[in-house]
């Protein structure tokens, strides 16, 4: 059995002096006790013998206590007091008569700064509320619209002249294409949420209610469309508004639904009858086209942040368009006006067999498009507009 070495003392032997510890508490060796006694005696004798005058007057003593002495005066006073019993006693008396200092408080506990805490918290919350969009999707209990509304899409940039609340049925249909808004469609396709920019829950619920209303209106609009399509060509007057949907027959509604289902999701029909401006959102929502009065078009590649005006050559205000891809866009207008762009910038006039006002268009690419005339006739092209044919059976 080996001999255990004595434990070494801790590496840091220096004690930490806590507050209000009156005297130095150190482990003293056998020589420290006599040293303390001798030290006190020697200092007493030394201080008592040093009486050469020049003691601190009351003014200097008070300035010392108030820390009003400059460095030179302070050093001079300390040099004298170090060997003067009277001045040491005076200084000790000054220390002992010092009024109790107010409790040291952290600066944030000072009443003058107390208001900073709630203000800072409120400002921080405001900044977060503004800066961070609410990305929590809202679950709608409405079963029919749940698939659509699970993604709380931002409000599509609606035509300024056609607010949602007062828009006619067709406008509602135009702004809310089948399956929801273009943004919600894209979001569904991408499989992720698209959050609206900082809207509170109450506003969003209001929007959702409006969206559901629009969704219901869309069904009625589809019925109206099917009614118009199924009606025999009656050569309506140019520019006439579409016949309002009344009581569509079940078969007509089924046809309309069939047609809507046949339209590819990437090419949305936008019809803005009598609208001074219309918006065509591409399959990629960042690319969109704004139809201006007089036939010109504005194109945005950054989701509407900036717009560039493009000349189409048309003189009449275009009424609708379809953009199956960011570079391909079909536009239609009155008197059989059909325009096609395959690069998103230049437009070419496509020959149309009839001089009739066109109401809506659906396209899958730059070759295939379906155009519905105001009189309900539907024309289809599969070669980029070189040839058109009426949809059989319609």
């Amino acid at each position: 059995m080996g001999v255990r070495k004595p434990l070494r003392p801790a590496r840091n032997r220096r004690r930490i002096v806590l507050y209000d510890e009156p005297r130095v508490k150190e482990i003293k060796t056998d020589r420290d006790v006599p040293m303390d006694r001798l030290l006190a005696a020697a200092l007493n004798a030394r201080a008592g013998s040093a009486t050469d005058g020049g003691c601190l007057d009351a003014e200097t003593l008070a300035a010392w206590a108030d820390e009003a002495l400059d460095a030179r005066e302070r050093a001079s006073a300390e040099a004298h007091a170090a060997d003067c019993a009277r001045c040491q006693a005076l200084l000790a008396a000054m220390v002992k008569t010092r009024p109790p200092a107010a409790e040291a408080r952290s600066w944030w506990r000072v009443p003058a700064f107390g208001w900073l805490i709630p203000v800072t918290v409120a400002a921080t919350a405001l900044v977060i509320w503004i800066a961070v969009p609410n990305r929590v999707p809202v679950q709608i209990s409405d079963g029919g619209a749940q698939a659509v509304d699970q993604v709380t899409a931002p409000q599509a940039p609606a035509p300024r002249s056609a607010p949602l609340e007062s828009a006619p049925l067709e406008d509602a249909k135009a702004q809310t294409p089948p399956g929801g808004s273009p943004q919600s469609q894209v979001a569904k396709e991408l499989g992720r949420s698209v959050a609206p920019p900082s809207v509170d829950l109450r506003e969003r619920r209001k929007e959702e209610a409006l969206e559901k209303d629009a969704f219901r209106a869309e069904g009625a609009a589809a019925k109206a469309l099917s009614e118009a399509v199924s009606v025999a060509p009656a050569a309506p007057s140019a520019g006439a508004a579409p016949a309002p949907a009344r009581e569509p027959a079940p078969s007509q509604s089924a046809d309309a639904n069939t047609m809507r289902a046949a339209a590819p999701a990437s090419a949305r029909v936008s019809a803005f009858a009598n609208a001074p401006e219309a918006l065509v959102v591409s399959s990629n929502p960042s690319t969109r086209f704004r139809l201006l009065r007089g036939g010109n078009v504005q194109r945005s590649a950054d989701a509407g942040a900036t717009w560039r005006t493009e000349t189409t050559g048309a003189t009449d205000t275009l009424t609708a368009g379809a953009s199956p891809s960011p570079s391909v866009c079909w536009l239609i207008g009155p008197s059989g006006t059909v325009l096609l762009s395959t690069d998103g910038r230049s437009w070419r006039r496509v020959a149309f067999p009839e001089t009739v006002d066109l109401r809506s268009v659906a396209a899958t690419d730059h070759e295939n498009a379906t155009v519905t005339a105001a009189d309900g006739r539907v024309f289809v092209t599969t070669d980029g507009g070189r040839t058109w044919s009426r949809t059989p059976g319609l």
Partner: protein
């Protein structure tokens, strides 16, 4: 000059000029403060008479035929009036104590010796004096005196505040404008340096061996010697000053 000091100086000037409203304000604001300071110096109330006499001097009671001379004229505004008043009171208190100490008769040699087991003073008359012991203690004191001389001024003042005035670490820190932890470390360092210096002097200058150095300390622990003013003043025990707690500041003046 500090703005508050300037206001105090103006108040002192008005009081010195004998303006009654100023004096009334001074009494209202500063009389409690002065009494608190007097009680801090002497908890038994023995310093209150000093505070009252100070009031008279501050008011400048005219002596027979002479003009009124207020003590306020010495206030120059280098500090607050309250601190200056405390300083004046401390001066008077310390001077009175020192005067009293001078008038007290010194104890005879025997009374300075510690009491024995039977309550009688141990006398060394019958004991043969140990010449080595006396010499060792003398050497130790001389070495300690030289070591103290070599100390820095602030170290000496810190030692005096702590060992002679018996201030606490916190009070010493307030006097030195240091944190009490700093005071504690500095005191420990100074004492360690002093001991090393003393041991070195005993070995090198006095030519003592390590065993003789140990005997020096042993002798000093047995007899602090007649130079211990605490024993001479009769209010100190044989224990080390560090073992004693706070004491009245008048013990060393």
């Amino acid at each position: 000059m500090n703005a508050s000091y300037a206001r105090d100086l103006e108040l002192a000037r008005q009081c010195a000029a004998g303006e009654e409203p100023a004096w009334e304000r001074f009494v209202l604001e500063y009389r409690p403060l002065l009494y608190r300071a007097a009680d801090a110096l002497d908890a038994s109330g023995g310093a209150r008479d000093l505070a009252d006499s100070l009031y008279a001097d501050l008011y400048g009671m005219p002596e027979s035929g002479s003009e009124r001379r207020s003590l306020f004229r010495y206030f120059q505004g280098r500090s607050s009036l309250a601190t200056w008043l405390r300083a004046v009171l401390a001066q008077r208190y310390v001077d009175r104590l020192r005067a009293q100490k001078r008038l007290e008769p010194l104890p005879d040699e025997d009374s300075a010796l510690p009491l024995g087991h039977q309550g009688r003073r141990e006398t060394r008359a019958g004991d043969p004096p140990d010449p080595d012991r006396v010499r060792h203690v003398g050497l130790l004191r001389e070495a300690l005196g030289r070591a103290i001389d070599r100390l820095d001024t602030r170290d000496r003042l810190r030692l005096g505040s702590y060992y002679v005035q018996d201030l606490t670490l916190a009070e010493t820190g307030r006097l030195m404008k240091e944190h009490e932890a700093t005071v504690s470390r500095q005191l420990a360092r100074t004492r360690r340096d002093l001991r090393k210096d003393v041991e070195r002097q005993l070995r090198e200058d006095a030519g003592l061996s390590e065993a003789q150095v140990a005997e020096c300390f042993e002798s000093a622990s047995e007899d602090a010697g007649p130079l211990d003013l605490r024993l001479m003043l009769g209010d100190g025990g044989p224990e080390a000053p560090a073992a004693r707690k706070k004491s009245a500041p008048d013990r060393s003046v």
